[in-house]
């Protein structure tokens, strides 16, 4: 039998190696606690704690009794014999009551059905509500209204309904098309100056913000799952997992030349619901 050391745990503890390493462990642990209060850098704290734990492991390893022994016995069982662990240890295992298991599963099933019924009964609403209405101005994140003539090629990125800046689900991406004029299925009445379009920023795939605009192809691009939309053609999906276009915001210009919504979104924004 290997790995067996003579003597009791007390004898082993009195040998010099465990005492020395144990002292190191204690010192490092004290250093760690002191370091926390003294505001040491993370690296010093981490190394002190790692060292203390390793030293503890060494001490435990030194103190270990005869633990490496294996039980080895010939496999003399025949098919149909009692399970081997039972044979080795005269175990008293009794099978888990089948009735309890079945009863538990049945109870879970009934509970799940009741839950589903409750959920289905609790009624549904018509999807997320945005702050866009007729006459609501488009503003930047700083709350500044936007003149149609000031929209640069490529656009502003994210704009918001006035009074609801940073209202998550109302985020809109405002774009001046770089390569061509808007064409159907874009609703042309909602386009300003043939090239300025606004779409909901909430991806119709999984609801991430549609983050990127590629000028060379006039496409909007969602960084989460690579969904790509054609901004010049009603933001229809051209690649990736999205199945529906980004809803287009009815866009117009007020008497002072500021961009304004002429209505709310015609279709629900965000992902399709089940």
């Amino acid at each position: 039998m290997t790995g067996v050391r003579p003597g009791s745990a007390g004898d082993r503890l009195r040998r010099p190696v465990p005492v020395g390493v144990g002292a190191v462990a204690a010192a490092l642990l004290v250093a760690f606690v002191a370091g926390v209060f003294l505001g040491w850098p993370t690296a010093a704290l981490g190394l002190a704690l790692t060292g203390a734990l390793l030293a503890v492991a060494v001490v435990v390893g030194q103190l270990r009794g005869p633990v490496a022994q294996e039980l080895v016995w010939p496999d003399e069982r025949h098919p149909g014999d009692a399970p081997v662990a039972t044979a080795a240890a005269a175990a008293v295992a009794t099978p888990v009551r089948r009735r309890w298991v079945l009863g538990g599963l049945g109870g879970l099933g009934i509970g799940a059905l009741a839950g589903v019924g409750l959920l289905a009964w609790s009624g549904r609403d018509g999807g997320p509500v945005t702050a866009w209405r007729r006459g609501v101005h488009l503003v930047t994140a700083e709350g500044q209204r936007i003149r149609a003539t000031d929209v640069p090629v490529g656009g502003f990125g994210t704009v918001w309904p006035e009074g609801s800046v940073r209202a998550d689900l109302s985020a809109v991406v405002l774009v001046r098309l770089a390569t061509q004029e808007a064409e159907p299925p874009t609703v042309l009445d909602w386009v300003v100056g043939d090239r300025i379009v606004a779409y909901s920023k909430i991806c119709t795939h999984a609801g991430c913000p549609v983050g990127l605009y590629q000028e060379d192809t006039d496409s909007l691009f969602c960084p989460c799952h690579q969904a790509t939309f054609d901004a010049a053609r009603g933001a229809v999906p051209t690649f990736g997992p999205a199945s529906r276009p980004l809803p287009q915001l009815p866009l117009g210009v007020d008497d002072d030349g500021f961009l304004v919504a002429t209505d709310g979104f015609a279709t629900p924004i965000g992902p399709v619901r089940g």
């Binding site: 435990v60 016995w73 175990a91 295992a93 549904r124 999984a206 913000p209 983050g211 997992p241 089940g274």
Partner: protein
Amino acid sequence: MTVQEAPARPRWLRELFVPTHWSFLLGPVAVVSFVVLLLTGVVLTFFYQPSTELVEYDGSAALYAGRDLPAAFASVVAIEEDVPGGLLLRRVHRAASYLFVAALLLHALRVLLAGAFRGRRFVNYLVGLVLLALALALGWTGQNLVYDVVTGSSVRIGYTIAGSIPYVGTELADLVFAGPDVDDVVARLFWLHVLLLPVAFMLGLAAHLWLVVRHRHTVLPRRRDTGGRWLVAVPTGVGLRSRAALLTALVCALVVLAATLVPFGDVTHIGPFLPGVAGNDMYPDWYLFPMEGAILLLPAVDVTVLGATITNPLLGGVLLPVLLGGAALLYPLLEGLFRRRSPAEQDLSEHPFHAPVRVAFVTLLVTVTVLLSLGAASDVLAQVIGAPVATVIRVLRGSLVVAPPVLAVLAFWYARRRSRQQPA
């Protein structure tokens, strides 16, 4: 070989035998990391604020001086920058969570490959699958408490996937997430992460360990040159405390060292979640890559059947995980129908090569999971290879159809050959 008299201990402990092989330590490693997670998590709750109210930041991070930050993110930055030892504490919590999930996954793989799910142990295999699902839920809820720039998209994706379930999806999503606004979600996720899910996991873990004791551990067959087959195990009761202490010290040392060397989950430089803001490199933790990859790789679908709209998030986020989990759940039952063994034989930890179909099944499962995970990182892959993202996605879609069955057949063929060379 004489069997040394076991010391007087509780009878159940004396009669529990565990074979000597490193792979049987995966479960205990997961338990130790769970304890580390509990302890560090409790301390983290002293400093964390589950609120999205904007507060003026007055900590020592120069980046945010005077800015309005969501309280949750501000409290995480405070833990990193101003709480003594807080940065190490957060990193240890994160590193332990990675070790926790990795150990659980490898443990599940070990149980599958060795056939330790057979016979009466099937019940415990089911408990184990539930524990794995709870662990993934714990990970997801935890990483979103940070309220950094990834949280917004991550929570929205979770809401979309839950909401894509036909008929009850919207209500279910509102129940779990308290509505589609990311602002409302953090408080809900906080209670899930610090109370409901940990308690559920502890109850499940207690049942799991109790069933291991009750069913006895599987034992390892060892081939000898003469005298036929020998069985090998270690009586757990002997030296249990010192072995547990040794394992605990070593796992803790590993986690602390990893947390010291690698900046796990540091968020100060990432920035808080702000509506409408999206980064280009936003990824969930690695164990959620398969789900993320599934909704990225599967094509766009929009079909309405019987009033239910079937979309990509439903297929990739709900059906595919359910299919994979269901396959893992049902495989033991199917194997039990076609590969009958005596109860005595079921107590042996089998060498995988002796069950080629099982090897093929595990290969299929692992290949699908790995390819889906690659899908979640397809933009990184595209950068590394230098190909367009669209090409990478198309190649991965093709591989998802072709590679799993091909590799499964190869694995079956290889395992059968090895099994014939070296019969049990």
